[in-house]
Each structure stands twice: as C-alpha cells, then as structure tokens.
Symmetry: D2
Subunit: 335 residues, 4 copies
C-alpha cells in the first residue's frame, strides 16, 4: 500500500481524487491537506462534498509543514494553485515522493512560458526539465519512470486526444491553424465564491479569447499553432471541444478514421465513435472516458471531443498516471 | 412626469425596476443609486445587466447624501438591505417623497418582530404604524393614500395570494396549520458572490426551516399560523409555492373555486387557473402574473401558486403600488 | 455466477441495472431484453446509453419467448411497465427464477388497489400474497427468502425511509396527516418522447395532485394516511421529499434524532444528517444513498429526504435486494 | 389597423409572433391557425403557452381553406414547415396579402437549393425571384416594397450580422473559410415530442456537421464559403455563434471595430460591444437584440454573436420587417 496524500483536497478535483484514492486497492489515503490558513481546515471533507459522507469523513488538515508531510508520503497529488505547486512540489520530490501535479506549474518546458502566461518566474528549471507530461495515452513510457508528472489541463486533454493522431500522421495542412472551440462546465473555475460563477450570472459565453493559458500548452505539446477559444457553459461538469482543421492534400475520411482508431485501439478510456458521429457531453460526464467523433468534407475535418473536465481532464487522468507509474492495472479506481 | 430614483439599482430587482420605470410614461428616471462605497459606483447599469445595454446606460451613482437626492425626487424605490431601508426611508419621507420600500423594514407593525427576525432594533415606530403593506390586489385603498408602502416579500406574495381568499371566506380549518412548501430561483438571494449561490453548489434543498423571516410576515398578514419551508431551486427566477391546508367542515371544491375566482375577477395580474389545475413556473417567469391552481379531496385543499420572484414578488408589485398610488392605469409598465 | 437477465433494459433504470449487474462479481449478465416490437431491438445498449460504450455493448434482444429466456436465467430484473411485469413475472417464477420487479405490479397486497390505481385487474393474487416489498433497510428478513421481490417506487422510498422510524416509534400524531411534497427529476417519467418531458416544456410544477399511484403505496406500507404531492423539477435525476408532520405530545427533537439515528446505525446507505440539517439533492445524485435531515419546532417536525430516483429509488435498491437475497456483501456493485 | 393572421401559431415562434402582433398598435390579430388536422385545433393558444393566459385566449383554428383566410387578411405570418410555406404562400400572395414567411421556403434564389437541402422541388420560381431576404438591418430598401419577405433563419441571422460588415469592407481573407461554431437552445427544434429534445437526452453536442441547411443559406447571402457547425445546448432559448476568420493583410483591430460600429450605428437592435468584448447569451434572451463582440490577434479575428433564436432569429425580426414594410416606427412591439 502506497501512502498517498492529496494537497488541495477541498476543491472539486480534490474531492474526485479523494474518492478515487479511497477506491484504489493499492493506495492508502493518509492525509488530505488544504492551505495553512484555509477556513476549511479542520472540517471533514464530507462537510464540503456531501457525496463523500459516510465513505470518507477524514478532516482537511492545514499544510503547515510540507517537509514533515513529505516524510510520511509515497505518492503526492497536488490539486493546488500553479504557484503553490511550483513552490511545494520540489520539497516533496526532495524527500523521494512521487509527485502528480494537476496544476500548470510543470507542464511546459520553457521558463519564459511561466513569466508570460502565469505571471511568475519559474525557479526550478531542473524539475521543469525532468517533469513528464502526463497525457496518459501518449506518454506511457516516460510516465512509467518519472518522479514528477505534470497532469495536463482539461481543455488540452480534450484537444490533444482528438488532434494528435491526425497531426502525428501528417494528415493536416497546418498552414491553416486548427480552430478549437470548447465549452466547459462551471466546475472548471474551481470551488469558490465569485460573481462570474454565481448561478444567475452563468450563461454561455466565450472568455479568454486569444489569451487563455491552455492555448500555449496545447500548441507546445502538439507542435503547431492553434486557435483556441474557451467558453463557459451552463452545466456543472464536462468539456466539449469542436475542432475544425484543414486536411493535407488527398487525405480521405478513411485515413482520418484509421488514424484515430489505430491510435486508441488498445486504449479503453478513449472511445473513437466513428466517422459521422459526434461526441455528446452526457456520455462522458462522471466517467474517465474521452469520446471522439469526426466528419470529413472536402478539405476539412471537424472533430468533436468530450471529457469530464474533473475526471479525464484532471483526477482520473492523474489516476491513470499513477497506475502507469506503479504498474497497477490501467483502469484501477477509474472504471 | 414624476421624478423617480432607485436606490439599490445594481441588483436583480433594481435592474427590473430600472427597466419598468424607463418604460413608464408618467415616470422619469432621474437617478440610479448604489451604496456609497460600492465597487459598482460609476459604472453604467448596463455593464452589470447586459439586457439594458443601449436602452438604459445611466451610471450607478454613489448615494453620498440621502437628503440631497430626496430633495430632487418625487418617487423613491428602495431595493436595499433591510437595515439600509430602515435608515434612509425616513429621510426621503421627511422631504415629502413617496417611498416604495422593497425590503422587509416596514412590513410588519411590531417593533419586536425586527429584533427577533431581522437582528436590529426598529427606530421608527411612527413610520411602522403609517406604512401600508403593498399586497396590491388586497390593499388598494390604503395604498392609494400612503406615503410609505412596504412592498411584500416574494414568498409572502405567492403564499398570501393563494391563501387569503380561502381564509377570508372562512373556508379553512386553521387549527391545522397550512403547510407552505416553496421553491425559489437563485436570484432570490440577490446579486452577489457566495458559495451557496455558486453555480456548482446550487442543488435543490430546503433552507431556513422553521426560521425564515417570511414565515412571520405571512402569518401576521394572514392572521393565522402557517408552516413555511423555503427551498432553493436550480433555476434563475420564479417561485412555486405548494400549499396544503385543511378545509373547514362541509367546504366543497366549488366553494374554493368561488372564493378564488371572485377574489380575482377584476384583478388581471392574478390568474386563477381553475379546479384541478396546477401552476407552472414557466408560465409566469418574466411576467407580472401570479398563477393559482387548486384541488380538493375530502377535507384537504392543495393550492399551487407561481410568480416571478423578481417581478410579482418584487419589482412589478412595486410598480402596481405606484400605479395605484398615483392613479395611473393599473397595468402600466407591467404588461 | 448467477445468470442474470434484465427486461426493459432500454430505459434509464434498465441502463443503471445493466451497469451494476456488469460490475457485480457474482452476477453474469446473460441477456438484455426489450419488448418484442421495440424499435430498439437489435441495437447495442450503448447506442442508447453512451456512457456504456466500450463497457457493455450487448444488443437489446426482443423478448419473443418469456419461457425460453426464463429457462436460462437465475435472476430476473424487470424494469418494465406495470402490466408487462404483471404478465411475465409469473412465467419467470414458474421456471424457478428469482424475480426482482421494479414496477408497481406486486407492491401492494390488495387486488382492488390495481383496478383503482393501475387500471387493470390483477390476475395473480397468489403471487401478490407471496411478493415481498423490497424496502431494503426495513424488510431484510423477508427479502432473504423471497422468490418475488417488489422493489419500491422512487417517491415511496424517499418518503418511507424518512417517516418509518418516527411512525414505528409512535412519535407522530397521525390524526393530522403527514404532508409529503416531493420533486423528481425528469428521468422519473422514463425514456420516451413526450410533450410533457420535452426540454422546453419542463418547468417546476406539481402533478398528480391527490391522484398519484405512489400515495396509496406509501400509505399502505406506512400504515397511515398521508398527503402526497409530486412535482416535476428541471433536473435529470434525483428526488427531494420535504415532509411536514405533527408530533405526538411531548416528543422532543432528541427523540426524533434517536429514532432516525438508531434505525439506520448499521445501514450504510441511509445517512441521517442530524437535527437542523437539510438533505441536498446533489449529495445523492449518481449514488445509492438516501440522505435524511430533520428539524423540530413546537409540535411539528420537518424531514427532508433525498435519493437518486434511478438508483436508491430503483436500480441500486434492486441490487440491495439481490445482495440480501443471495447473501452477497451488502454494498456489492453499489458503492 | 392591418388585419393580421398567423399560421403555425401553436409553436414557440408562433407564440412569440402572437404576443407581438397583440402588442402592435397598428396590427389587429384576426386569426391564429394550425394545420387542418392538428390535435391543437380548437384549443385557446394560452392552453399551450401559459404566459399568454388572460392576455390572448384566442382559439387555434384549423386552416381548412387558405383562400378564404387570405381574403380577410392584410398581413400573413407563416411560422410553418418549409413545405407548407412553399405551398400556401402563393395562395395568400394571389389574394394580395403581404406575406412574411419564417420558413426556409423562399430564402435562397436557386431552385436546386431546395431539391438538395430541403428534399422538395420548388414550384414557384417566380416567387423565389421576387422574394426579399428579410435580414432587417441589411435589406431595408428591398423589404420596404416587397410582397413576400423570407425572414432569415436563426443561425444565419447571428452569423451574418457579425460577418457581413467585415466581408463587405473587404477585411477578411476568404481563401480561408470562416469557421462558425454556434450553439442553439432546444426551442430551435420546435414544439414537439421527440427523443432528441427529451429533457434527459439534451446534452451539449454538435449535429448536422457539414450538412445543415443553414450553411448554404449563410454562404449564399454572404457570398463566400463558410464552415458552419451547429450545436444543441442545454438551455431553452438563444444562440451564441463564435466565428473565427482570417483577416486580409494589414487589417487591424481598429479597422474591424470601425466596420462593425459604423454598420450598426443607426441600428438600435444590433449592439456592437467593442473590441475585446464577448457576447453573452443572457443579455439577449427574451429580447430582440443581437450582441456582437470581437477580438483580433495577428491575422485572425474572433467574433461572438448572440441572439434570442425565437426573437431576433425569428419573430422579432419578422416584426422588424413588418415595421419596415409598412413604415411603422422601427421598434414597435419589439422593445
């Protein structure tokens, strides 16, 4: 049993991680942490997340000494703000913990990326170099030996899983930048009081146009420019990405189908739906799946990709990475 | 043209009042006010309420001197917190303004009510005595000559409009307290950031059980005890109240029908739907109507009453009171 | 491994049953059936319920010969219309199958009940007599040896779990009928095209006032009269019941707390939330739990009871009955 | 007073038309019609659309003789299926009625368009030639003298209002096709029972990919190719279109702003929100407005355009056309 702690357990992703670690037969949930001055410190997690009541009533502990927590943990899940992950991941790593970071702090191997898009200067170039990007279906080998896994963002997961098979097979004309329109549920903004996420204010609209942090994450890991426009939708969880791209000359629908179907034929958590099919949010909500549909007409392909933002876009993908890293059965605690 | 100011214009009720005053041919909208230190001060109201853009782009002004605003106004609409209304209404009244207060500050003619249910000691017994309860369909005569009209709360409006015809006609056995279960949209909590009203947290549940301020408001004005249980629903606007009561001996369904239909036969904004019918939220959302359905079986009656909480439960009822007070056509700016 | 078939597998409850039987280590899913002339016959169940794709892609088979299916099955789950269950349950039983019927066909041991409330004459008085009501927390012993288990309705489950501990302990004054107001998600109406359930028509309202079939089911099994008013809510799944009742003389809040807490102390799927607490829909959606809150003031108690209508109100309660009937661990395939 | 009839009055658009004709001081609502064998024939429209109760309780009449209805009408609003409009518009026109058709039957001046996209052969080339496309802000002059006005579709309205100023000013590089992603509320599918629109089935997804009828409507009237992907959203009304396009060389954000702002400076129902702003569904729901936001980065522009699909996308745009055609004040019955 690997001793597992979750930092940032009070949020929506934290609650899902808690549920899954609890389910996992090879992980022992040894501590749930929140920031030292959180007003949630001391409360049972089930006071915040009623679904957990009776299952997991562990208290949320204030993270007063990272080092002492690190000394007792084998596995650390960080569902913390970017700056917090940046600061504490190295402390855990120094104590030999395996760290699965769900923030953006170690996702892109470029220092300048952080000053530009996250507003802080990255202090740990060495860890940035060693960090492995946890896009589970595509990075199995590196994840299997990494100490620090940077679990991808929600929008990047939905986007890359659809586009990567086409790009890697040279099926797209990338002179024309793929256009990614994506709609996320309100849980993507985290568990906090804000006017933007106030029930009466939530109403479908685009935000972060030309400026969202996930654009460079997607572009860097795909190796090409993309236009990415996120939207807030009036639902709690899930992301639907609709992607329009130009095909390279003479690429047919069956080439697209082949690329997607062969990429995921041994990957049970990605479900290629077939040509002419369209991914539907409801089929993936509360699951660890990514559904992908596609259609081709003339020189264009339209892909639709749906995930649960809190699961495949965060917690269950972290769990996939844990299963890969420690050699557990790949779907443990997920399906 | 009566010079009209709205205090507390930034909220959802304030925005509806703004829209209706703007529509009203005999009212001139001369000022929109927010509290002196509001971060919204200075912004056009249409920045907060996008539907108003291009129609009403007046700025929200900080209410720095109540007295000087009072000197320029004929009609004052207060969509303010209870304590604020309590403090400023007398200042407006002293300058001769007619005041329509949408808070609870003057709704119940008992000082002790305020210490018990609102947590402050009422300083203006004289105004409490003179204030007229603005339940428009039932208090026409008093409203027509009042200086201070206390516009009823949302739940009390839905509840009283259904129950009053039965109680006034002696149709109920009040030894058994009527049971009012009501569900309100999230706009009832006002326009503000809070965890309770955060999109992902809103989920049908009862709150304020045995302790909501609207219970004594309802009981006082009906003159009988009631059990009132409010609920938060996962929709933006509207209230549905389902009321179960015991009938007095030998009361038939047709007696109930007669009471409701005759009470409202000349009241176009209350729509008795007929015996066996059930009020539906959607039919009244974005309208000034109250729909009432009823069914009788044996000794019991079940009434359903639906309103838009921001309109018939607040802004449009205030407008009804203005129309009554100044002798304007009753539906002006409402239908 | 018990060979298990599901009849009526195309609906929402059928899909949940399918998922749970698939998860259950002691059950083998051997057939999914729909009515003989269903247009869904022949399709994989995952075409109708996208969440199942890749997990369970079994075809929906037309139920052409009940008898031949019966010969191959140990366990039969009927998620069928009342009349269908009435007709086919005896055929399965005659072949020695254990039948778990989720319809109303065997829930009340009175022939006349069916003519009055279901519109058909019951032909199987013998099976009505032998059928055991599957309210899992309350009928363990009888379920453990039954051949035919009538799984309770969704509203009756939420209502009885809250009221039964109080009634059985004599805490209520039943001269005043308990008032049950309940709101159900749209999935309660089943998977079918109808105007009532059309997206744009769904809007909170009461229906079946004084006439819903679940009223006599509740009253019969509680042994007292109740007023039951169901509502359609604008959400997909879940039921919240708010129950107002009069206490017997001198009953205190702590007596209520004792009754509820002791009734469920060894029953992990019912979670008494404590005095002053209120059940919240979101905490039970997608789970097999029932949450119960209560408050007492003077002579009245208000109870709130929340379940997932498709799970604790149908499929997971059926699974509890299976686990009891065959001596499996009580939470298998549920938590 | 112009005698006005509405055919297809039972639907959502029909109800909005009914409300607006009733409000319009120069129009007299003389008849509400449904198809001859509709089960709604004979019912008051307010039975179907509860908001109208007490305001407009006219019966829905079966349209048994088009000709005799035509003889009594000055203005005809057709909220009918495409084939029905195709068949009956010429009959009304032959009697001298002015016809405002909200279907697709006369929107594109090409016979082959109808065989390809609507599945019927168009019989009235002469009327196709004479029909005027009712995009109110752009076709004022032609609408003012037309006998037959083809009111645009909902998606085409949102799309064209955003793109037309840029295309007409030569600001786009149309070698790269503009990508229009749009999400519509469920009312877009009309008032009918269907599985697709069943409450529990509605969940964000794309449909009609590369094949929706509105694509050629948009492309024809803009005069350029576009990629159009419609989506069903989990809300009742409204459309948000997010449009990504490539700018022509050296086009700046201020050129884009100039084009949009000058196009609509005297058009109160289109609200350009300014550079960097994003249209929000809620600001236009239940209104006749179109809100447009835009952002430029490098060679790309992203436009967001929001309308109420039943109003600016149907009924209120028809009313704009009526106001233009008969020289009434442009906002009559709309704002």
């Amino acid at each position: 049993m690997l001793k597992t702690v979750i930092v940032g357990a009070s949020g929506y992703t934290g609650a899902e991680l808690t549920r899954m670690v609890h389910l996992h037969p090879q992980l022992e949930l040894t501590g749930l942490y929140v920031s030292e001055n959180s007003t949630d410190a001391g409360k049972p997690i089930s006071d915040l997340h009623g679904t957990l009541k009776g299952l997991i009533d562990l208290p949320l502990l204030p993270l007063s000494s990272v080092e002492s927590v690190a000394q007792t943990a084998d596995v650390v899940l960080l569902a913390t703000a970017h700056e917090v992950s940046h600061d504490i991941a190295p402390v855990f790593l120094a104590q030999g913990c395996k760290v699965f970071d769900l923030s953006g702090a170690f996702r892109v191997q470029s220092d300048s990326f952080y000053t530009t898009f996250y507003g802080f200067e990255h202090q740990y170039s060495d860890w940035l170099d060693k960090a492995v990007y946890g896009l589970a279906e595509w990075n199995h080998e590196a994840i299997a030996t990494a100490d620090l896994i940077a679990v991808p963002g929600c929008y990047p997961t939905a986007s890359q899983l659809a586009l990567k098979p086409l790009i890697d097979n040279g099926l797209l004309d990338l002179n024309q930048w793929p256009v990614i329109n994506a709609v996320s549920g309100a849980s993507g903004a985290g568990r906090k009081a804000s006017m933007t996420n106030s029930f009466c204010e939530v109403s479908l609209h685009a935000y972060g146009i030309f400026s969202h942090r996930h654009q460079p994450e997607i572009a860097t890991h795909l190796g090409c420019d993309v236009i990415f426009t996120p939207h807030l939708g009036n639902f709690k969880r899930g992301i639907l990405a609709t992607i329009t791209a130009k095909l390279a000359d003479d690429v047919t629908e069956s080439a697209v189908s082949d690329a997607l179907e062969s990429a995921y034929q041994d990957m049970p958590l990605v479900r290629p739906l077939g040509a002419g099919q369209s991914a539907k949010l409801q089929s993936v909500q509360h699951t660890g799946f990514c559904d992908i549909g596609w259609s081709v007409k003339g020189q264009h392909v339209i892909l639709t990709s749906a995930i649960d933002n809190l699961l495949k876009g965060a917690a269950s993908q972290a769990m996939q990475c844990i299963n890969i890293r420690f050699g557990f059965a790949p779907l443990t605690a997920i399906v």
